[in-house]
């Protein structure tokens, strides 16, 4: 429904705003995680059909008529993979943060200016 779609877009915008304005490295990674959650909510809410049930065909769903009684299963399958990959990428980013802190002893992004021209 339309409310879940609007919620997903609002989370996406808040996450990007957080990544652009914060100075602490860990806050930037938290903003990345919020963007991830927002995008997943958008994808799952596209596959919803009003009045139908979950795509598991057990005793309460008629087998012969299953096509007219279940929600779309494809967005669920895509998001399932994406959640696990999001966790792995967040862990990799945090290990980068640990190595950067061990080198320069500072968590603020103003102290890492070597790539600016």
């Amino acid at each position: 429904m339309i409310f879940a779609l609007i919620l997903g877009f609002l989370l996406l915008i808040i996450g990007i705003y957080g990544m652009l304005t914060q100075k602490n490295l860990i806050k930037i990674v938290i903003g990345f995680s919020i963007v991830d959650t927002g995008v997943h909510i958008i994808i799952v809410s596209i596959g919803y059909i009003r009045g139908k049930t979950a795509p598991i065909i057990d005793a309460s769903v008629d087998i012969k008529n299953a096509v007219n009684a279940v929600v779309d299963p494809i967005p669920s399958a895509l998001v399932l993979t994406a959640i696990v990959i999001g966790l792995a990428v967040t862990a990799l980013m945090l290990s980068f943060v640990i190595k950067l802190y061990q080198k320069n002893k500072s968590l603020s992004i103003d102290d890492y200016q070597e790539l600016k021209w």
Partner: protein
């Protein structure tokens, strides 16, 4: 000051890009063509109750192989960056209640995880959820006793052998059935609809994925947290 104005302009531009999408979007009233083909195929050909499991293991099996590869690369990256130094600081031993309780709960959580990924084709669940539960059991052991050392050789063997067997079962499908059926679950007998030993090779493939995900996430947690 200039930077804040630019950030606000960028956010406003993003909102303007998303507005036409929200205004003209109308939700479906019935399933599309590809989704109906997948739902009917999973009832008639594959004998699987959980349609999402059938999509992930059979119809989109190559995407699962790619996801397993991405997890492996991320774990290798974390393991390379965070090598352990030899710290000689000993923390205090935790109390008797915590150690005994955590060992008792460890067995129960592993049992729940194995149940979830072997019944992945019947109930909501599957390999990813079961693997994460197994990681949570090991996390409980780490939190109860911070000086615990894992046997890294066993974790290495479980992870590598699960990946190898996943690809071997996929190639068995090509050898036994035909040229276009990589990861076809028809290499084992199909069975009845709704029993545990049904749906061909889907429980076997999903169990291997669950073990691989569980051991990789345990390696990540061990490298980041243990002393």
């Amino acid at each position: 000051m200039i930077k804040r104005i630019f950030v606000l302009l960028a956010i406003l531009g993003l909102i303007l890009m998303f507005l036409p999408f929200l205004r003209d979007f109308d939700f479906h009233e019935e399933l599309g063509e590809l989704s109906s083909k997948y739902v009917e195929g999973s009832v008639n050909d594959l004998n699987t109750q959980n349609v999402v499991t059938a999509v992930i293991v059979t119809y989109r099996g190559l995407d699962t192989l790619g996801e397993v590869t991405v997890l492996f690369l991320a774990t290798a990256g974390v393991g390379f960056l965070l090598r352990k130094k030899k710290t000689s600081k000993k923390s205090r031993k935790s109390s008797e209640l915590l150690q005994t309780g955590s060992q008792f709960l460890f067995v129960l959580i592993i049992l729940t995880g194995v149940y979830i990924f072997t019944h992945g084709h019947l109930t909501p669940g599957g390999g990813f959820q079961g693997g994460v539960l197994i990681t949570t059991a090991f996390l409980l052991l780490i939190l109860a006793d911070i000086n615990l050392k894992f046997n890294h050789t066993i974790l290495l063997f479980v992870e590598s052998l699960s990946g190898v067997f996943y690809v071997v079962i996929g190639l068995l499908g090509v050898l036994l059935i035909g040229m276009n059926s990589f990861l076809d679950p028809a290499i084992l007998p199909m069975g009845n609809f709704g029993k545990v030993l049904s749906a061909g090779a889907i429980p076997l493939i999903y169990s291997l994925v669950g073990l691989k995900v569980g051991s990789e996430l345990t390696t990540i947690i061990d490298k980041m947290g243990g002393e």
